[in-house]
């Protein structure tokens, strides 16, 4: 299967590019930080370690994967290897989705690696749910990074767009809560701004509700809520893949 070959190439490039070492370093940094925090806490030491290490590893995983995707795709475009690939007798959908599948597999491997140390402080069931959620979040990050890397002309603009989307998606809930707080003014302008914000939220994935350290500390959500949260992520992943395919199909050969 050509798509599988493309996916395998993505994984091979990540291994040869030193991503494994970077992931290992992030893991070590997380463990070192947990040891340091354990010395400072006067209570809830285990919860502190779990929450902070989970939050740190989540950010590291997203950063590593997004930069890997953007750098890899931009290099392929700048070296004109993409043009060569487009000349092959492979449909554009296979080419795009093959790459995306490789990046998703890479994200799943990072999620599995980063979930392992959390077993030191949380139950296996909670870590499993957190890890699966991280894998799906990383799949979404891979799809967004691939879309931006393909559609925007520069590496910096692709990375900036990726970071903007990710940070906004993680804070939109808090921004909406502030906008509709009791101290908010009851004016037409404010109402319009609030509605505009709600509109923006509709276009974003609910990243503030998934891969929560709360699941490791207190309790995981019930099965129905969990499936609906991950379902929302998968829908957004499909949207990003469709948008990316649309843009890729328009690209001149």
């Amino acid at each position: 299967m050509p798509a599988l070959i493309l996916g395998r190439l993505v994984l091979l490039e990540a291994r040869r590019g030193g991503l494994v070492w970077l992931a290992g370093l992030a893991l070590l940094a997380g463990l070192a930080l947990s040891g340091f925090l354990a010395q400072l806490a006067i209570t809830e030491g285990r919860l502190l370690q779990a929450a902070v290490v989970a939050a740190l590893l989540r950010v590291c995983a997203v950063f590593l994967l997004a930069t890997q995707v953007v750098a890899s795709v931009r290099r392929e475009i700048d070296d004109r290897r993409l043009e060569l690939m487009l000349a092959l007798p492979l449909s554009r959908a296979v080419q795009y989705l093959g790459r995306l599948a490789g990046f998703i597999a890479l994200g799943a491997a990072i999620a599995a690696l980063f979930a392992l140390p959390l077993l030191l402080w949380a139950s296996p069931a909670a870590v499993w749910r957190w890890g699966l959620s991280l894998a799906i979040e990383l799949a979404l990050v891979a799809a967004a990074a691939l879309f931006f890397a393909m559609s925007l002309g520069q590496l910096v603009s692709a990375l900036a767009a990726m970071a903007g989307l990710y940070l906004l998606a993680r804070s939109i809930g808090a921004i909406q809560a502030i906008a509709s707080g009791p101290l908010a003014e009851d004016t037409l302008t404010h109402e319009l701004a609030r509605r505009a914000l709600d509109g923006v939220a509709l276009l974003l994935p609910a990243l503030d509700r998934v891969t929560r350290s709360e699941w490791l500390l207190y309790a995981t959500p019930d099965g129905r809520t969990y499936v609906s949260l991950l379902g929302g992520m998968l829908i957004y992943l499909a949207l990003l893949a469709a948008a990316g395919l649309f843009d890729f199909a328009r690209r001149a050969a």
Binding site: I42, T43, G45, L48, L167, I178, D208, E214
Partner: protein
């Protein structure tokens, strides 16, 4: 990863010298700079819980705990003989309230308020911390009773304010309903009224908490044992 590189010995001596000089200058500069000392009474105003939530990027639990570690560092340190003496308790309470609002299920803010900040020798400051615990207790009595139980003991033995201690004990008795709350905590009013000394009362309370399994965190157990040792040393000196 392999790169085509020139051997190190082929680099011009000037480059080596520039690198060594720059490194030496950096080390000298940092050594000369004063290292961060214990920050005294310069706690900035607390952000709102909403602002903290925004800054947490969807990780309120981790942010709440890191904010507690940040707060702990103010006006405290090994060389400081009177920790928290200069701390602005009005701001401190605002910080604790914001952190508690960020993660209402965390025990950390109330534990620190009861076991660290309320033990300030300044009665006015101690009262501020105790009242904070009392106010926040009602939001989740079954989870927050332990902090208020300690507040009742402090009110009796440190502030010598029996009505205040009784008010706290009565609040636990009336509001803590969970079976996880031990009987002695629900009957605290009696043990407030009894004529026992602070060490005896603390022994009963901590012994009861450890025996009931209410303290599962090893750091917390170690911290409480240290506190009990301190009390014993103080009682032995009297």
């Amino acid at each position: 990863m392999t790169r085509d590189e020139r051997p190190l010995r082929q680099l011009p001596a000037g480059l080596w010298l520039a690198l060594a000089l720059a490194l030496a200058a950096q080390l000298a500069w940092r050594t000369h700079e004063a290292s961060p000392r214990v920050r005294e009474a310069e706690l900035p105003p607390a952000p709102s819980a909403a602002a903290l939530r925004l800054a947490s990027f969807g990780e309120p639990e981790a942010t709440a705990r890191l904010a507690m570690l940040y707060l702990q560092a103010f006006d405290y340190g090994g060389a400081n003989p009177t920790p928290y003496r200069r701390l602005d308790y009005g701001r401190l309470i605002d910080w604790l309230a914001a952190i508690l609002e960020l993660d209402p299920r965390s025990d950390y803010p109330l534990f620190a308020a009861a076991r660290v900040y309320a033990e300030n020798p300044d009665p006015a400051k101690s009262r501020l911390a105790l009242e904070f615990i009392y106010r926040e207790f009602f939001a989740d009595p079954d989870r927050r009773w332990a902090a208020l139980a300690h507040a009742a003991l402090l009110a009796k033995h440190r502030l010598h304010d029996l009505p205040l201690a009784q008010r706290y004990a009565a609040a636990i008795q009336r509001n803590a309903r969970s079976s996880a709350v031990p009987l002695w905590a629900r009957q605290m009013e009696v043990f407030i009224l009894e004529d026992m000394n602070e060490l005896e009362a603390a022994r009963i309370m901590l012994g009861g908490m450890l025996a009931s399994g209410a303290i599962r965190d090893p750091d917390e157990a170690r911290f409480l044992r240290q506190k009990l040792d301190e009390l014993e040393r103080r009682a032995a000196r009297k």
